[in-house]
Amino acid sequence: MGFVEDRVGSRYEWMSADELADHQSKALVRSVAQAAKSPWYSQKFAELGIEPADIVSRDDVTKLPFTTKEDLRLSYPMGMLTVDRELVVRMHTSSGTTGRPTAIFHTREDIDCWAELMARCLAMAGATASDVFQNMTGYGLFTGGLGLHYGAERLGMWVIPAGAGNTARQIMLIRDFGVTCIHATPSYAMHVAERMLQEGDDPKNLRLRLAFLGAEPYTEEMRLKLQDIYGFKAFNSYGLSEMNGPGVAFECPEQNGMHIWEDAYLVEVLNPETLQPVGEGEVGELVLTTLRRRAMPIIRYRTRDLTRLITSDCPCGRRHVRLGRMVGRSDDMLIVRGVNVFPSQIEEVLMRHEWLGGNYVIHLTRAEALDQMTVKVEIARDAFDGSMESLRHRRAELHKQLKEQIGFSAQVDVVEPGSLPASEGKAKRVIDER
């Protein structure tokens, strides 16, 4: 079959660049042939005149069509399934905002491969079979819980499947069983720490040494803060349900970018407008092809996640390329006066200004055929010192920094606290009236 189980996975982990290239070419050929067995891809390939036999090396990936989230919805429920139903051992779904979910299928080998990839992530971060691991995210259709669970078991860790919530019980289990590693969302890890501090307990007194944080975006400052409060080392994780879930990319002890397992995923970073590769080190949309999944291969999946590749040699010795922090979603990209602008770039500048509250709105209009951008920011209530001059000065400084960041001049409007939509939930940050 070629989809061979490798319990340890080390033959993949330490491949040289040449070995990886060779493996990727062979795996891509297999994946495309396998994908062609699904109703969706067989029809797609036929429409586009693609013969799976034309794909002979990894460079041929550019001949293949993209797959989008919408394609996954259209193929729901089983349009991308490539194997007999009896070979499927699990499925996960991710809910879409438009109602139809997307469903991902796994054979036994697929689950084994996922567990191997996940175990490699945990081991890379320094976890071993001697560790006690508390999994503090939800189980079920959400891939984060079961993904980490299987990986940790594969590594031989003592696994406590605590699931999400019930903070008092989480703290009790961590303490009573000498938990050394946790998996949680950063915000929940912070919540647990705050609860402990409220009750007069110092999280540093726990035996925790490693934390795997993911499933929501968070800043480097948040990571450092959590590391400081707990005294553990926190690792960033990247995954998406379409690519199994967690276990796609993970940080090594260098904590400088996440190694993406290139034996399992063919990586492209493309300009989301032109769909051509970006220059080395430039930000673009991450596009992934599964190389080791049998029940449901996905070809050139447009993740919509924007990142840059770190191609320099990692001191850890692994050749698997690293992903930088996610800088946003290509869905969010704005084109203003022909310039690509991401709200995250603007947010980055705003976060440097302590006199601002967290809320902001980017308002786009057109005047005399020219795009106009107004960034509305809230003054923090405590930051107002009564002086008109200092407000003007701060606004001018912000205006200058925004111009340096995005390359053109945006108007900055300072508004009263509480007058913009709150940052929690799906706040609408961009109002486009062009």
């Binding site: 107002f384 010192d385 009564g386 407000l391 003007r392 409007d413 300072v414 009263e416």
Partner: protein, 138 residues
């Protein structure tokens, strides 16, 4: 030295009536109300005998309020006083960023509100020509 009440507002209609009605309902008399307008936002400058209470009332209504130090110089009702003050400030080479006059009791008592980088020196200059800086407007 004295506290002026300053309120940050976006330039939207209705802000002035909100500020005045909140203070009116609380029984706080306004001696002076001035709006410094930037075009995009504005800052109300309010002179009242009860700055701390005015701040509390406006803050409780979720307005963005700060107390701002100014020099309030009592001006007796006699000719030539302002000229004396102006000359004293000039002689001391003091930078004045904003100033306005305000009548406390018609025909009897007025004050001159002065803002600048060095309020203590401004008050000293006023004293040097026989004028009295106030720290209360009761």
């Amino acid at each position: 030295m004295y506290n002026e009440v300053r309120v940050f507002v976006e330039n939207k209609p209705g802000k002035m009536s909100k500020v005045t009605s909140l203070l009116g309902k609380a029984g706080i008399d306004l001696l002076s109300l001035d709006l410094a307008d930037d075009g995009q936002f504005g800052v109300f400058k309010i002179l009242t005998a009860e700055p701390e209470r005015a701040k509390e009332v406006l803050s409780a209504a979720n307005m963005t309020v700060a107390l701002y130090k100014v020099a309030v110089i009592e001006i007796p009702d006699e000719p030539g006083v302002l000229v004396k003050l102006a000359e004293a400030l000039e002689a001391a080479n003091l930078n004045v960023t904003d100033a306005y006059g305000c009548i406390i009791e018609r025909g009897r008592r007025a004050v001159f509100v002065v803002k600048g980088d060095n309020l203590e020196a401004i008050e000293d200059a006023a004293r040097s020509v026989g004028l009295r800086p106030l720290d209360s407007l009761d």
